[in-house]
């Protein structure tokens, strides 16, 4: 029997609204469509009526998970247009915040993935460990979600020596916690049975459809903006870009776990080598010079790009924001085909979608 099974826009397996139509033969998905736009807030339009400092606040609210990534990328655009070089210490602090954000984002996703496959003890364990990262972010920035760590020309808050030592010691603890999570995530039979061979995206398809981030790397595509187009001193740090060839949900688990280790490595290096000097160029309200640029940042879910056009005034002439989920969401129908309805929620979630980001 053929059925059309709707999922969403509001559904228990979805953290955010998206509508998927599954065209099935019995339990098997023959084809699928996805529909977005349920979170469209017109943020790009609002940005045209805001100055650069107001826009930092605005773009941080594009997403509740990768909020720092948006402020970071927008600030890079304005700094590029204005020809401003961020002090080295400010660059390092931005990197430390970005990598802590990646850790909490990956922990969040791993927890949700476990919840969807019914491994709730693992879900609670991971989210419990994630609290350490959230506490560190709160201690460092004063906030758990929208950190407000970025200003045009640098970072807004410094890391003093006491906090630096505390963060270094937390890195050691985090690595121990991650070892335990990795051991369970990569050897547990329940996780393996629900994720191996499920929702496969081949390398060729990932490249053709422009998949980015851990989603692409789990299909064997060796891309990472931090290495391919270094910014904010990322080329000072030693880290590895992990890829896995199998392209299934398990590969996405594996890549994200391995990336957590790399993030801890980067944070530790940044803290150990934290340069002396100012963290920013002074909190002035800058005019955005006439010009245009695009900057990219490797957000937790992949390449995030902002385009900013300035006309010499205080406000943006145009801000265009394109997030990793914009590239990864169109791969969902492709991954769903040939799988069962029971796996649809997991496959959709496996790209670590952020529809709030996507819709803006």
């Amino acid at each position: 029997m053929s059925y059309i099974v709707p999922i969403g826009p509001y559904h228990p397996a979805l953290e955010e609204p998206i509508h998927a139509k599954l065209y099935t033969e019995g339990e098997v998905i023959k084809d699928a469509e996805v529909f977005v736009g349920y979170n469209h807030r017109g943020i790009e339009k609002l940005a045209t009526e805001r100055n650069a400092i107001q826009t930092l606040v605005l773009v941080e609210r594009v997403c509740g998970i990768c909020s720092h990534s948006h402020a970071f990328t927008y600030a890079m655009c304005v700094e590029n247009i204005n020809g401003v070089e961020v002090p080295k210490r400010g660059q390092y602090i931005r990197v430390i915040t970005a990598e802590l954000e990646r850790l909490h984002s990956h922990f969040l996703w791993l927890g949700i993935a476990c919840h969807i496959i019914g491994h709730d003890s693992m879900f609670m364990h991971i989210w419990d460990e994630r609290e350490l990262v959230m506490d560190l972010l709160e201690k460092m920035t004063g906030n758990r979600v929208n950190y407000a760590m970025v200003t045009i020309g640098g970072a807004r808050r410094d890391i003093d020596d006491e906090l630096r030592r505390e963060l270094l010691s937390a890195c050691q603890k985090l690595k121990g916690l991650l070892d335990r999570i990795a051991e369970i995530a990569l050897t547990d039979k329940t996780i393996a049975m629900r994720t191996k061979g499920v929702g496969v995206l081949t390398k060729e398809d990932a490249i053709r459809m422009g998949a980015v981030g851990p989603h692409a790397r789990a299909s064997g595509v060796d891309i990472d903006v931090r290495r391919d187009a270094p910014y904010s001193s990322y080329d000072d740090f030693d880290f590895k870009v992990h890829t896995v060839d199998s392209g299934d949900v398990f590969a996405r688990v594996l890549v994200r776990v391995l990336e957590c280790y790399e993030s801890i490595k980067i944070i530790r290096q940044a803290l150990e080598m934290l340069p002396e000097g100012p963290i920013n160029l002074g909190n002035k309200l800058p005019k955005i010079k006439e010009g245009q640029t695009v900057c990219r940042h490797e957000a937790p879910r992949g390449q995030l790009s902002h385009m900013v056009v300035g006309d010499g005034g205080l406000n943006n002439h145009r801000v265009s924001i394109h997030v990793p989920s914009y590239k990864n969401t169109p791969t969902i129908p492709h991954m769903l085909r040939g799988n069962t309805v029971a796996d649809a929620g997991l496959i959709i979630a496996s790209i670590d979608p952020c529809f709030s980001c996507l819709d803006r």
Binding site: G37, Q303, R318, Y326
Partner: protein
């Protein structure tokens, strides 16, 4: 600082550039659009030629060829977005379904409403004169 190279092209070069980039294995980062100070549509095709971005601009055109056959959804999604928000027509692009805008905006084709209409007018239209 990431490098950004602007290169102006004509609409007839959109497809050849996309084909060359695809052959060279370059990622299409995004297709952006905005209306410049002269009131002209400026569509830019940004390719990752690492570590730089090569941004190919077509200025003053509101009808362009689609590069969906070359870059699949990496191109068709931003093309659909530009069609909804700026009324840019892409030859061969399926625009029968909405991408971001509400279904009822398609009645008026939704064309350009978000980016072209001043925010104050949208507020007045949707929320009444006092914005509440």
């Amino acid at each position: 600082m990431q490098e950004y190279k602007r290169i102006d092209i004509g609409k007839d070069q959109v497809v050849p550039v996309a084909e060359r980039m695809r052959r060279e294995g370059r990622y299409l980062v995004m297709i952006h659009g905005f209306i410049n100070n002269d009131g002209q549509m400026d569509v830019s095709y940004d390719y990752a030629v690492n570590p730089a971005i090569e941004s190919y601009h077509v200025v003053g055109e509101t009808a362009l060829p689609s590069i969906g056959a070359i870059y699949d959804t990496a191109a068709t999604w931003p093309e659909r977005e530009l069609n909804e928000l700026f009324a840019v027509e892409f030859e061969g692009l399926d625009t029968s379904k909405r991408l971001f805008l509400p279904e009822d905006m398609l009645e008026t084709q939704g064309k350009g409403q978000i980016m072209v209409t001043p925010l104050s007018e949208l507020v007045e239209k949707n929320l009444g004169g006092d914005g509440k």
